[in-house]
């Protein structure tokens, strides 16, 4: 407990080397579209910065220059058609500059045609179920036991000692690198949302609906996310872990998850 307080104090002082893995910005991600999303995010962010510097600059100048000072008389103007036209037109032009690349990325994002494989994800309160279409592979994916124990109100386990606290599952979703994976999403009870920031995918899982989205991970690795739509008591405890493997490793994993393989593993 003391250590936690101490860490927080360190964090407050800005010397945040205590937990070094905090980030300030959206991840660039590991798909083509996550990189495009990141670029859009940075583009609109830089526009906002530029506008901010300009507008706040003018304001600060005015606040200093146009203070009440002895002998100063306020101006009396209150209309200017020219100014109104200028500051209506320029924002429209900036918005047009922003909207074109956004629309382009959005169109790609919605193009779920010709996938290499399809996975059906079904949300439950409070875990995920994955079924690999055309394969005999299906499993639940729930919060890892280590986090599950530590998260209790009276656990007295320091979350900093738990690896990937609240972001770890028993059975991760496993996909091959460089393949277009189509994800079909639905829910068994309430609305949930499947979000993995590194894949730049967030899509709601809605009962009675089948939503689709896709990703193609270009880098081998483990990517973590969480349910993003409030889904009840344990909304904070249904993480998503996606493991991206080399094709051979993926094939081996797939074979090990076939019912026959699991059965022989059980009898051993």
């Amino acid at each position: 407990m003391l250590r936690k307080v101490y860490l927080s104090v360190i964090g407050l002082l800005g010397a945040s080397n205590a937990s070094a893995d905090w980030t300030l910005n959206m991840p660039r991600g590991v798909t083509e579209l996550s990189a495009e999303t990141y670029a859009l995010h940075m583009q609109v962010f830089y526009w906002c910065c530029a506008i901010g510097v300009l507008v706040f600059g003018v304001m600060i100048y005015s606040l200093i220059r146009h203070r009440k000072s002895p002998g100063a008389e306020p101006a009396t103007f209150s209309h200017s058609m020219k100014a109104e036209v200028i500051w209506t037109t320029i924002p429209i032009i900036i918005l047009l500059i922003l909207v074109v690349p956004s629309a382009r990325t959005l169109i790609k994002l919605e193009d779920t045609r010709k996938p290499d494989m399809t996975i059906v994800a079904t949300a439950y309160q409070w875990r995920w179920h994955y079924r690999y279409q055309g394969q005999d592979v299906a499993f639940y994916s729930s919060l890892a036991r280590t986090s599950g124990v530590a998260r209790r109100l009276d656990s007295s386990i320091d979350p900093f000692t738990v690896e990937n606290y609240l972001l770890d599952v028993d059975n991760p979703l496993v996909v091959p690198v460089g393949r277009k994976v189509r994800l079909l999403l639905t829910s068994n009870d309430v609305v949930h949302s499947w979000w993995v920031p590194e894949l730049a995918i967030k899509k709601d899982a809605i009962p009675g609906f089948m939503n689709e989205t896709w990703f193609k991970a270009d880098v081998v690795g483990t990517y973590r996310g969480q349910c993003a739509e409030l889904c009840g008591m344990d909304h904070g405890y249904m993480p998503i872990v996606v493991k991206v493997l080399e094709p051979q490793a993926y094939a081996a994993w797939l074979a090990s998850r076939q019912p026959t393989a699991l059965q022989s593993a059980d009898t051993n």
Binding site: V55, H66, S80, F209
Partner: protein, 534 residues
């Protein structure tokens, strides 16, 4: 404010306020009702704020320390409902009650008895809402957005939630009717529509928004009620219904609601900035057109809250374009305020400080709003702490700051006494600093991947969460200073206020003595060219 308003009674009054509790229970006077609205709003602000402090304490560090996850969800839900419907909306209605008759040269509101009813519904609605904490299953915990099917899992609180939303809606609709009728019928004879002060204008537009969308909300929650108790399946997939339909209806209410919460704030700062710049409001008419276009656009952008539900591509494109368009009239307003300050002779009393902070901080909320309009980026931001940062930046240093600015600005007119200026400034600086300490780090949390509405989080989010929590405690405690300053002023501890209060402000309210007489204008005043705003 009791003594202050009573003081105003001179021998020529034909009748004054009733004595004791009857004055408030049977109130029909716009000032008394306005006072009650403002007091209720303050109480709800402190209640919702206390909930926020429990939430932020729990989030101070990872791991659960104080409350169970279901209680956490109840607190986030109730915090939002209370702040939106209990703190911000009644505060603006209270300001409208106090100020609109005085600003348009009327004796009172047009429909005083309805005014009484629309106020007195509220305490009961909120008592019922807060009582749900003590019911089996606890308070509503499905978020203030009440999405089905989750909201249908609410315990015994469910029908009380629906009924209190109905009551709040009825109250808002009656308040809106009263404001529209007053503005349309009771203006001083030579005050044409375009001569009206901006606060009156923005409230007129807001009142129409309320009339248009509160019935939509009432319809949506009624459908929830029948789904739960009468066997319908509007939103239940198992019976052929559609859970997403609720989201569409809710946000068709919800987006105009956002502007219901902010347009009166725009009105307030359009009054304050000219006064302390000693210059007329720049582009009065274009401000009116900008507010009207914001109101119109607010009806065709609702699905920008739903980019992840799986809409058709063309739908997403449409809502992206329409949402970005809102930036244009909002920008016009900002630029007009800056042009009002430009080459004025500014002084920085507390109301002006708050107004200037709004220009800076609301603009930051506007920037994150533009970012949220970019659909691919929104897919990352949606339901993350980035959104929490965004809407708190428009609501706290937008609406709440504007309410406080308005109180500082008009309190001398209401009470007849000046507030303590140095304490007011201290309150401003504490609020302005802590509001940023609280909400700015939330941008980073959201971008780093922290979802909203979670009671516990992974360790990499720890630092910014503890900073935000410290900011929240600081902001919350600073508001007690505000309560103190207001109470001291109302008790007559400050210097006597002149009728103008400030340095030659424009507007009819400043032609009345301070404190303002019980019946504002017994005889319609002349609107001279100096006292009108255009």
């Amino acid at each position: 404010m009791t003594s202050a308003v009573m003081d105003a009674h001179h021998s020529e009054e034909h009748h004054g306020p009733a004595k004791g509790i009857r004055r408030w229970l049977y109130a029909t006077n716009h000032k008394d009702i306005g006072t009650m609205y403002l007091v209720l709003s303050l109480v709800m602000f402190l209640t919702g704020g206390a909930m926020a402090l429990v939430i932020r304490s729990e989030l101070f560090q990872p791991g659960l320390q104080f409350i169970a996850p279901n209680v956490f969800n109840q607190l986030t839900t109730m915090h939002a409902l209370i702040m939106v419907f209990g703190a911000v909306m009644p505060a603006f209605v209270g300001l409208a009650n106090w100020m609109i008759p005085m600003m348009i040269g009327a004796p009172d509101m047009a429909l005083p008895r309805m005014n009484n009813w629309s106020f007195w519904i509220l305490p009961f609605a909120f008592l019922m809402l807060v009582a749900t904490f003590f019911m089996p299953g606890g308070a509503p915990a499905a978020g203030w957005t009440m999405y089905p099917p989750l909201v249908l899992q609410t315990g015994d609180a469910f029908p009380y939630l629906i009924f209190s939303v109905h009551l709040l809606g009825i109250s808002s609709i009656m308040g809106a009717i009263n404001i529209i009728v007053t503005i349309v019928n009771m203006r001083a004879p030579d005050m044409s529509l375009l001569k009206m002060p901006m606060f009156v204008w923005t409230w007129l537009i807001t009142a129409y928004l309320l009339l248009a969308v509160m019935p939509v909300l009432a319809g949506a929650v009624t459908m929830l009620l029948t789904d739960q108790f009468f066997g319908t399946s509007f939103f239940l997939a198992a019976g052929g219904g559609d859970p997403v339909l609720f989201q569409h209806i809710f946000w068709f209410f919800g987006h105009p609601e956002v502007y219901i919460l902010i347009l009166p704030a725009f009105g307030v700062i359009s009054e304050i900035i000219p006064t302390f710049s000693r210059k007329p409001l720049f582009g009065h008419d274009s401000m009116v057109y900008a507010a009207s276009s914001i109101a119109f656009l607010s009806f065709i952008v609702w699905a920008h809250h739903m980019f992840t539900v799986g809409m058709p591509l063309t739908g997403q494109l449409f809502f992206m374009f329409s949402t970005m368009l809102i930036a244009v009239p909002t920008g016009v307003k900002l630029f007009n305020w800056i042009a009002t300050m430009w080459r004025g002779t500014m002084t920085f009393e507390t109301p002006m400080l708050f107004a200037i902070a709004i220009l800076f901080l609301f603009t930051i909320g506007g920037f994150s709003g533009i970012m949220l309009a970019i659909v691919p980026a929104d897919i990352q931001y949606h339901d993350s702490y980035f959104v929490v940062a965004h809407f708190h930046y428009v609501l706290v240093p937008g609406s709440i700051f504007a309410i406080m600015a308005a109180v500082y600005y008009w309190l001398p007119k209401w009470s007849g006494h000046m507030y303590n200026e140095s304490l007011g400034k201290l309150h401003f600086w504490l609020s302005a600093v802590f509001v940023n300490v609280t909400f700015f780090p939330m941008h980073f949390l959201g971008l780093a991947g922290m979802p909203r509405r979670i009671p516990d989080y992974s360790t990499q989010f720890a630092d910014f969460n503890s900073i935000a929590s410290v900011g929240a405690i600081g902001y919350g405690l600073s508001q007690l200073l505000f309560v103190y300053v207001v109470i001291q002023c109302v008790r007559g501890k400050g210097a006597k206020a002149t009728s103008e209060v400030w340095d030659n402000p424009k507007g009819l309210e400043w032609t009345l003595p301070s404190p303002a007489p019980y019946h504002s204008f017994e005889v319609p005043p002349k609107v001279s060219s100096e006292s009108a705003f255009s």
